[in-house]
Amino acid sequence: LQFSSGLSVTRRLENAVFDHIQAFYQPKSVREAVRMLQSGPGRVLGGGTDLALLQDRSIRFLVDIKHLGLDYIRRDGNGCDIGAACTMSALEHSPVVRGLAGGILSRAAATCGSIQIRNLATIGGNLANGSPAADTATPLLAMDASVIVQTRRGRQRIALREFLALPLPRRINGGLLVQIFAPKSKGRAGWSFQKFGRTETDIAVVNVAAGLGIARDGSCAWARIALGAVAPAPMRADGAEAVLVGKALTRSLIDRAAESVAREIQPITDQRASAEYRRQISQVLVRRALLACAQEAGYAL
């Protein structure tokens, strides 16, 4: 399996200029944007923080989606609708997002680069163009989020999990990612986001988001464990979740779930860490995340 968990490691030395870009469009409506995107070799421009590093000389035009009114965060009865052009800063500070699923999406957004980057980078870009280490993908996966894509035929809702399985840049039928739906958790639950980097401001070597639901009888009602930078795309650890569900939570059960995670992931060795180390760290972070979830849910282990 050949992939890198971040930027391409072997960028060509000489290319640093965007003279191949011949047009810059600022459409006024989503429909107009979709039409433009289908007209040729163009790319969606959200914040630009990834695109301005891209060495793809086949791109001929950019479609700026900052003026389509897609920067909203709206509380919905079942959760929250987030416009694709919302910045990391907006997610970080939004009371709505902070109140959702223990605020793990806010916390993840707050680790996404520096303040200057978070003021630019969008959630849409992070999901549609993000590396396997994309920091917002992991919590959203754990939250069972879905995305809405606008194509020429209309709006289409798909599970984030399916969306992230697409190759980069993630597009469906030439459509534009316009909205993310993050459901709120039901019942007694706890959430946690864990990130391991080489320094405090690093891209994730591994990131983990987890949620645990506690049933009336104190057993685990549901479990969600998502990981980033350990597979070709952010992933859910289904096996580990199955280990937990329906059972009384104990430290040893959590250890078993963490061990299962280490078997489920497919990490690679790159400049940031070896596959072996990613496996070890994943196990540690999952254990820490689940313990934190239990604690947050007020469940004494």
């Binding site: 971040g6 930027l7 490691v9 072997t10 960028r11 030395l13 000489e14 290319n15 640093a16 200029v17 965007f18 003279d19 191949h20 870009i21 011949q22 047009a23 810059f24 600022q26 421009l45 914040g47 630009g48 923080t49 695109l51 301005a52 590093l53 035009f61 950019l62 700026d64 900052k66 800063s89 680069g113 520096s114 303040i115 200057q116 980057i117 003021n119 630019l120 391991f196 080489r198 320094t199 405090e200 401001t201 690093d202 891209i203 400049q271 940031r272 860490a273 070896s274 180390y277 070890q280 760290i281 540690v284």
Partner: protein
């Protein structure tokens, strides 16, 4: 001109409101905001990484800080933009700018505009931001000079009314200017983002130069076809080895004759590392230049490459320098660039008599300077046809000599100008771009600029020499060290820049720290097809002290002695003579070092107190949780200039208002050298610092100086300024005596006045003296002086680190770091502290995170700040800097050096602290979490195995229930 793009056919209009003014510019759709702003003259917006990591290009976009290098200019259409140029209120600085000056938060000043804008945005939202918020905010602004301590304090001074933490040293009471923590003389232009760096100019008709880098680690150029590149419209010069003179030289900026081999060529038919020069072009825009590079067709004969230094001298290894015309290589056929072997006494005999002998092997890695301003040179022919090069260098005068030699011009025909420099740390003690930029300018007959991208900086510039060190130390049971032996294998990469001297320093500056009567040092420096190593702050000492201080710690452990006690017993002290330095000169026989000042006992005592050594050392680190703490210590020294080699000159001229032009050959690269030297001159002349107009590092208008390296500037250039000032002072006294009608020995100078020391208490102002001299005597008061030393007084440093090891992930966090340094008299304590804190940040990075990684083809796989991990404001531990004052007889006003010595301490102190925390010694750098975790797993396996051994039933039982 500095933009990536010219105005192409797809030009569009960008309308913005910038700094309160409405502007409309023609841009290309692919233009980045950074390029457009610099093209339009907003030079306060700095280009440093172009990947959105470092924050030097920060602007406020609709009041929010963003990195303009990752914003397409068209995105800003209709937006409001604020750059640093709009922060001051006319001539009055903004309180943030003032705080940065007051606190010494700006050193080179290259990252400062970004920091100031980010601070403005933070304080607008959180006027009372605390330290955590400030560090979070500054995490978006890389800074390689300050270690973030002073920038954080500057912001907190505003948000929390925080105090100025600045050591008050005894010298402050003895002098009027020296010993005072004064603002940098160049500070205002740095905090206001004035155009003062190399690239902050628009030259008419300037071309952009680019270098075609080798994709192979080792190859011969069989055929090279540049015809298509030459034919591309907008291309004005294309150079290959066929077009330029072949002059063997070294790029090392050292005194002539350089002790580095002459093994490098302007362009060659052979390439020796990934990133080596293949060809160079000059074109009307960066885009055309890049297109021209793509059009050059090269056929390579790929040769086997050596990437592992231990393979370099093996029989059958490919010969990297097989060309016949290189000189000064120790043994080219076996890839040995340099070799040194020296012995004092007889170590073998001494080891036999020692009670404890510890011998260990250490592996150190490639660290990059990662200065915020990449290398950049602009070359043009002036109106007299002289080749003028404005360049980011630490060595203007050496560069002039080298460029003249390489381009076969008389020295008279070359002028080097060093403007403000955005950090160097040794990386710019190298003639790296000046020659090729000059060659392109000569070929194109137009101004040419070459500026490395961050990626090119990593691939093509210099780095710290990786070494394999074998250290063997023998001691008596009472702790007396009797023998100290170090054997080093190092690689200089493809070219031998600084190869002998860096490694010589590993011996001469490290071993003499302890008074072992028997010492032996040998080193072999080999060529490999790897990135070229060169000068880097510490110059061979960080490697050596990591090894030596780790072994000394181990000996203390073996003997059951406190590590401080063992060191105290053996440290070199006042009155000692270090003979090893005499053996290991700069590629030639050196001079012995006499210890005329030594603050090491004070450094150990005050440092230990500050970190709480006694209590923390005794209280066992927590065993219950997964977080374990430990503390460690290390001692180190450096030099103050190269004895008998380094020299510099200064010139002073008095103006009619009592101000002085101070012309210095010295090369301030952001350290504050101009300020420190001006303080020395002002003190001597009896004037305040504001009377000094400093101009430095211009080969036409300043006298010679070797440049900024080897911790020489304060002691050598400062010494020259003091001598020049003494001469000028005598002239002033002479005039004043006549004006005051007293004998010259009755005149004293101070507070911008000449006054009598007799009872009459008469005085004249300096301005009156100057006017009298100029218009009555018709004499220009002026003089110059040169200075050198026969000795290199060492600064002393004790470093204490407290670490926390996460035993589940292996991650090491430095909790606190204390550096106690004896730099003699600190001429400017605030600047001196800044040197320490910046060095410490680089030292911690060296120990834990910074590493240039090469793949199996010799290509660096992390040539960007995303994966070359320098520490941010959020990563830095609590730093404490203690200046332990001594008086060095050889230094101006008792000063020694400070810029390098503190970088040697963190790595061994951290390694020793890790041992204290978890009982494991790490002998390979950087100490990565992965390595720590692996070692911890092995440790627990071993412990389990030991516990399983059938010693007795009880033990087995205990182990089983564990």
């Amino acid at each position: 001109m500095s933009g990536r793009n010219g105005h192409g056919k797809n030009s569009m209009a960008l309308k913005v409101r910038i700094n309160g003014e409405t502007r409309e510019w023609a841009i290309s759709p692919g233009d980045l905001l950074l390029d457009v702003l610099r093209r339009e003259g907003y030079f306060g917006v700095k280009r440093a990484c172009e990947t959105g990591e470092c924050g030097c290009c920060t602007v406020l976009l609709n009041e929010k800080p963003v990195n303009s290098c990752v914003v397409f200019a068209a995105q800003a259409n209709g937006c409001e933009i604020t750059t640093v140029e709009a922060i001051a209120h006319g001539d009055t600085l903004d309180p943030v700018q003032q705080a940065f000056l007051d606190h010494g938060a700006a050193q080179c000043g290259f990252c400062t505009p970004g920091m100031i804008l980010n601070t403005k945005a933070l304080l607008k939202e959180h006027p009372h931001a605390g330290e955590e918020e400030v560090r979070e905010m500054l995490a978006g602004n890389f800074c390689r000079c300050t270690g973030f301590k002073k920038p954080v304090e500057a912001v907190l001074a505003i948000s929390q009314n925080g105090p100025r933490h600045c050591e008050k040293t005894p010298a402050e009471d003895r002098h009027l200017v020296v010993g005072h923590s004064l603002q940098k003389t160049d500070g205002v232009k740095l905090v206001t983002g004035r155009p003062c760096f190399t690239d902050d100019v628009h030259m008419p008709d300037m071309l952009i130069g680019k270098i075609l880098p080798s994709p192979h680690a080792h190859a011969r150029i069989k055929r090279i076809d540049v015809s298509k590149a030459r034919a591309l419209p907008g291309v004005h010069a294309v150079l290959t080895y066929k077009d330029v003179p072949r002059v063997p030289h070294t790029t090392a900026g050292q005194s002539w004759p350089e002790p580095s081999p002459y093994d490098t060529y302007l362009l060659d038919s052979k390439v020796r590392f990934v990133g080596d020069r293949v060809a160079a072009v000059a074109a009307e825009s960066r885009a055309i230049a890049e297109e021209a590079l793509r059009l050059i067709k090269v056929e390579y004969e790929v040769l086997p490459a050596i990437l592992d230094m231990e393979q370099a001298t093996k029989p059958g290894a490919p010969v990297i320098h097989d060309e016949p015309d290189s000189t000064g290589i120790h043994d080219a056929r076996h890839n040995v660039a340099a070799f040194i072997k020296k012995e004092l006494g007889n170590v073998d005999q001494a080891f036999r008599q020692a009670d404890v002998v510890v011998e260990r092997e250490f592996h150190t890695h490639r660290q990059h300077h990662a200065m915020m301003e990449p290398h950049v040179s602009i070359a043009w022919l002036d109106e007299d046809g002289r080749l003028t090069i404005r360049t980011s260098t630490q060595v203007p005068f050496h560069s002039r000599r080298q460029v003249a030699m390489i381009l076969q011009l008389p020295v008279q025909k070359v002028r080097i100008i060093k403007p403000r420099i955005g950090g160097g740390f040794g990386g710019k003690q190298e003639m790296l771009l000046e020659d090729i930029t000059g060659a392109l300018a000569l070929a194109a007959r137009r101004p040419v600029k070459i500026e490395y991208t961050r990626e090119e900086e990593f691939y093509m510039a210099r780095s710290r020499h990786p070494q394999i060190l074998k250290v063997k130390i023998g001691a008596k049971r009472d702790g007396t060290i009797v023998a100290n032996q170090m054997s080093v294998l190092a690689t200089t990469g493809a070219y031998g820049s600084h190869s002998a001297t860096v490694q010589g320093n590993t011996g001469s500056k490290v071993l003499p720290l302890y008074r072992a009567p028997n010492m032996k040092f040998d080193c072999t420096v080999v060529y490999t097809n790897c990135p070229v190593a060169g000068a880097f702050r510490g110059y061979g000492c960080p490697q050596g002290f990591f090894a030596q201080e780790s072994v000394v710690d181990e000996i203390a452990h073996e003997l059951g002695m406190d590590p401080i006690e063992l060191r105290r017993k053996n440290l070199i002290r006042l009155g000692d003579i270090d003979e090893l330095s005499a053996q290991l000169g700069e590629g030639r026989k050196g001079l012995p070092r006499h210890i005329r000042s030594c603050g090491m006992p004070g450094c150990l005592e005050r440092g230990a107190d500050a970190i709480g050594w006694e209590s923390k050392r005794k209280s066992l680190p927590g065993k219950s949780t997964h977080l374990r703490r430990g503390i460690g210590v290390s001692c180190c020294i450096q030099g103050s200039a190269i004895a008998g080699v380094d020299w510099g000159a200064a010139h002073l001229k008095m103006n009619e208002d009592g101000s002085f032009n101070l012309q210095l050959g010295a090369a301030d690269l952001g350290t504050g050298a101009d300020t420190v030297i001006a303080q020395i001159a002002a003190e001597t002349l009896g004037v305040t610092l504001d009377k000094m107009i400093v101009y430095s590092g211009d080969t036409d208008f300043t006298p010679f100086d070797v440049g900024a390296y080897a911790s020489s500037t304060t002691i050598i250039s400062g010494g020259a300024a003091k001598k020049a000032a003494e001469k000028v002072r005598a002239q002033i006294v002479d005039v004043a005596a006549r004006m005051l009608e007293v004998a010259p020995d009755k005149v004293n100078l101070g507070n911008n006045e000449a006054f009598t020391v007799c009872e009459c208490r008469k005085a004249v102002s300096m301005a009156d003296v100057a006017r009298h001299a100029m218009y009555k005597d018709k004499v220009q008061i002026m003089d110059g002086a040169s200075h050198w030393n026969t000795d290199s007084p060492p600064p002393f440093c004790a470093t204490f680190a407290e670490v926390e090891v996460d035993t589940e992930t292996g991650k090491v966090r430095v909790v606190e770091l204390v550096s106690a340094v004896d730099c003699g008299v600190a001429i400017n304590p605030m600047a001196a502290e800044g040197q320490v804190e910046g060095a410490v940040a680089q030292g911690i990075g060296y120990a834990l995170t910074e590493e240039m990684l090469l793949d199996e083809t010799g290509r660096m796989i992390n040539p960007n700040f995303l994966d070359y991990k320098v520490l941010s404001a959020k990563d830095m531990p609590k730093l404490t800097t203690i200046l332990v004052e001594t008086e060095e007889p050889l230094g101006p006003y008792g000063a020694k050096s400070i810029s390098e010595v503190p970088i040697n301490g963190p790595t061994p102190a951290i390694a020793n602290a890790i041992y204290h925390a978890i009982g494991i010694r790490f002998r390979q750098l950087p100490i990565r979490p992965e390595m720590v975790l692996k070692a911890l797993h092995e440790q627990s396996k071993q412990r389990a195995a030991v516990a399983r051994k059938p010693v007795g039933r009880r033990t087995r039982k205990a182990a089983a229930s564990d």
